[in-house]
Point group: C2
Chain length 150, copies 2
């Protein structure tokens, strides 16, 4: 039973190097004396719950969910950056204008940020209304949003 020894090495390897494919991993392991095929690695990866993530270079690489934690909000930030046109306020409503069709996804993004004092959001096609609980918090929320897109 050398399954766990192999899986242990796999975890080690994906932390140390940029492993782009399962074949990659198979070759590397072979170089370390662990003889295994891509098929088995596919099964190992499923068991270990490894995921394919984009590395800094834009290439795909294997990683763990844990280490991808950080980049969770990267998605949201990217979406904001690319689709928000303006942020404004009308009393306790923050009004966000987006490029056409992007309001829904910006709304979900804001929801997922779970900012304090945000009561909820509603999105049309190119506009999001963010309901703020306290008038005093409006500025802070706007600042936070600006911070994200800069």
């Amino acid at each position: 039973m050398k399954k766990y020894a192999r899986q242990s090495k796999i975890l080690e390897l994906i932390n140390e190097r940029e492993i782009e494919t399962q074949e990659d991993l198979a070759v590397t392991l072979k170089g370390m004396g662990i003889d295994v095929t891509q098929a088995t690695i596919s099964r190992d990866i499923k068991e270990l719950r490894l995921i394919k993530v984009t590395s800094n270079t834009g290439k795909y690489k294997y990683g763990t969910i844990e280490e991808s934690q950080n980049s969770i909000s990267d998605r949201l930030v990217r979406i904001f950056k690319n689709s928000i046109i303006s942020i404004d306020a009308a009393l306790n409503i923050v009004v966000i204008r987006t490029i056409p069709g992007a309001a829904q996804i910006c709304g979900s993004a804001i929801d997922s940020l779970q900012m304090t004092d945000v009561g909820g959001t509603i999105a049309g096609d190119d506009t999001v209304f963010v309901a703020v609980r306290k008038l005093e918090s409006v500025d802070e929320i706007i600042n936070n949003l600006y911070a994200l897109i800069n």
Copy 2:
């Protein structure tokens, strides 16, 4: 520019249904009037940082890193369950016996749990030593480990 509207729908869909493949997603979107090919979805999935996870049924499905958070330690638990033979103590050292070859991965797993008062671990082939900082904490750590495998 309907990219963001589409991506928004994609996020919605993978939360509502078990989307197994990109083709799956393409067909579903088509049914909703959003005409798109698998190639574009591949690109969307990269941008949205979606991942392929195993659903309850053992099948693959697409999901977000966020929602996979919970299952982080599932991997460790599974490994423990399958490879630990016994847990014992010698003064401030917790001694874990595993099936041959599995000690390394159990060691990493314990490290990643970041339990309080665990100074460090060292693993051979079928044995892990866990150095505990305080004698009083040994029992608690052993209990925690037992809890994991039951």
